[in-house]
Symmetry: C2
Subunit: 435 residues, 2 copies
């Protein structure tokens, strides 16, 4: 877990590794461990960017809730409106909901699952009411938490808005919008291929390989401390210009964060404003968010679209609820319904299967969202180390989970997360039993 902590997701092939002995969630409570406590904190309790400690477990359990103290960030303003209520109708009995871990005979409760995945916070909305809410360790109700690749789904949603409004053409090639990238691997990809990550790039997201392009990307973004004498790209856009094509676009799903960086640039250019300002204007200021969101920026001032967004749990839930309600929330149609419909349509399951996500059978990826194509029509935004906004339309349920798992890839614990979400959905769909 080194250079690329900010925004990478390893391929499914990378997740089969010998498991070292890892301390439990209780043993790594970041408050109990005393990270950054004291003035100054004792040297062995300091978590910082420059030595990479921020990205190491268990320090990550502190840093994921303190990204703006580690990186320059731009504000995604909540505007000045009132806060959209999420009325409480708590059902903490959900703690006892039991499910079977995929591939195992063992069962687990919802409460146990929270610790098993190193949860930092989780909220469940049902019919727009908060039926479950829990915070742990360094994360409180007013703490923005790093969302990693959940960030991508915000840019994907903005793109669908601009497509619905006719400001973007999903069939146009990237070079039409960003001529400087014409000769790169992105140039002749269509916006749709980029949104759905079916671009064919000479780019490895294998961050266990120090020569992988994702490491260079992390250095360029300022997401990892640069080695002495570093002479590579000093911002994300400079890096994007180095990415070459490999193969034919549009033939298979290949999850590469750089696609979203191109998308962020494109959105910002079309809107003629920085991405955080666009996000604020188009969505965040209309959601009735409780808090500003924080967007990590690179040394060019560009938001790190692939993984740099931080927000509070409830605000992420408001966004999820808006997605569930086809764009309508807080008394207004924030996102055109056709934009949400486009996302929920999903993409080719066949193309998706080629990427080898065995924990996600029959899924697809469209417009920076993950589509389950299950009986509930569930779809989700996912970020490494366990971040998720999970929307179950049939159960009228939204779950947001923040976590600081020692392992990056969600595939390591999808066997817990996904059946847990499904079990909660089924529980909520049962007729209420009253004494």
């Amino acid at each position: 877990m080194s250079a690329s902590v900010l925004m990478t997701t390893p391929s499914a092939a990378q997740i089969q590794q010998p498991t070292p002995v890892i301390q439990s969630s209780a043993e790594t409570d970041p408050v109990a461990m005393g990270w950054m406590r004291g003035a100054p904190p004792p040297p062995d309790k300091v978590v910082k960017f420059e030595d990479g400690s921020f990205s190491r477990f268990p320090q990550s359990r502190w840093s994921f809730a303190h990204y703006r103290e580690l990186f320059p960030t731009a504000r995604v303003s909540r505007g000045t409106g009132t806060v959209a209520p999420l009325p409480y109708a708590l059902r903490m009995d959900l703690d006892n909901v039991t499910f079977r871990v995929s591939g195992l005979s063992s069962t687990m409760t919802w409460r146990q699952a929270f610790d098993a995945v190193y949860g930092d916070a989780v909220i469940v909305l049902h019919h727009g009411c908060t039926v479950y809410e829990r915070y742990h360790g360094a994360t409180n109700a007013d703490t923005p938490h790093i969302m990693f690749s959940v960030s991508k789904s915000f840019s994907g949603t903005l793109a669908e808005m601009l497509i619905a409004n006719g400001q973007l053409d999903e069939n146009a090639q990237i070079m039409r919008y960003i001529p400087e990238l014409a000769s790169t691997g992105f140039g002749d990809a269509t916006l749709r291929q980029m949104l759905d990550m079916t671009t064919a790039l000479d780019y490895s997201e294998d961050y266990s390989d120090p020569k992988a392009q994702v490491v260079a990307y992390a250095y360029a973004a300022g997401a990892a401390p640069r080695p002495p004498g570093y002479a590579g790209p000093r911002n994300v856009f400079e890096f994007l210009k180095t990415v070459a094509k490999s193969g034919e676009h549009g033939s298979k799903f290949a999850y590469r964060t750089v696609n979203t960086e191109v998308l962020g640039t494109l959105l910002s250019r079309i809107a003629d404003k920085q991405l955080p300002d666009l996000l604020s204007q188009a969505i965040w200021s209309k959601l009735g968010a409780e808090h500003d969101a924080d967007f990590v920026v690179d040394s060019n001032g560009a938001a790190v679209a692939g993984g740099g967004l931080n927000m509070t749990l409830r605000d992420a839930a408001r966004f999820g609820e808006m997605m569930r309600l086809n764009g309508r929330f807080n008394g207004q149609q924030i996102i055109p319904a056709q934009a949400i419909a486009s996302i929920r349509r999903g993409a080719s399951q066949e193309d998706f299967a080629k990427a080898g996500y065995t924990a996600l059978p029959n899924w697809s990826y469209r417009s920076q969202w993950w589509l389950s194509h299950n009986a509930h029509g569930a779809f989700t935004a996912r970020g490494i180390y366990g971040q998720a906004i999970y929307i179950d339309p049939k159960a009228e349920m939204v779950i947001v989970r923040f976590a600081s798992n020692p392992k990056a890839a969600n595939a390591n614990f999808d066997s817990i997360s996904l059946p847990a979400y499904q079990a909660i959905a089924e529980q909520l769909m049962k007729p209420a039993v009253r004494d």
Copy 2:
């Protein structure tokens, strides 16, 4: 204007320098100049930390309103309460209030003064109502602006609160609170000497001298890009341990930002929380602030108490109004009246005079505030490049001004600022004339 842009104030002796031709405020409008516009911005329009462009005029006119995009910052939470109203009773006729520039025969209007000092924003409260409000360039009503040394007055006020509450002893030596600094220049200084900046330190705040300690301080704080091969202190506290004594404490005023850094450490240690959290808990969350404030932090996560605070104009005005009302604001006694009384008592004018601030005759400095001892009892928080919270109790007036002057020292334009504030005060004190 190099290494030390974050928090230094040059001595009065430094301000007599040949004046290069400098573009006017209108010519350097940061929006018109297009800083950071575009995705990515053209290279000559990028303002960044790593090349020091953020601290150069006229780029500074953009960066002063975007510090959190340039530095890691900690949040000073506004909490969750309602916003304290600042009712409008606008008198934009104040634009025409005319005053004589100190030392010159020429006169100037309030409106002209705003441009003359390269104002970014200014608000005037009278009886707690907003009688004047103006924003310029990159600064809007919801934009936190860097306050530079105005930040110090927040720590000074917190210290007076803890003294009033009996948690701190102003006569105790610093080594009692921070034993690690016992053998430094700070060790045998009293808290009172530190608060009033009468410590005697081997420390030069002359930032035109590259060997001055203030340059080393800026590198340690991460407030200036470190030179290649830098091997000095990597956080503020490490730097504080290198500061030696020179002379006897308590004999004269000598403005040195490092005093406030010691104070910030001390406050954080006594409160057992980080300074931004203390500030939020004790003051900011009670003010009815509209926005969170942003506090620049060093690589140890410590708030840069000497100059790292950013806030919106109206929120700074709320703080000023609370000071004017002796600690009572937003329906509660936020700060004990005796703490404010201690500040307003001022310190030795004789000790102050020794520092040679010719633009501030008969002034004194107490608890990180500047006391005019004029007929109105005015006192002020001041930051380089023109930041001010100016409180005139007799006129029942508070002025907050943000600026991005090409010159750092307020002494360069006190001849405009101070008579302008006084003229507005006198105008407001006149009986209202109605048509």
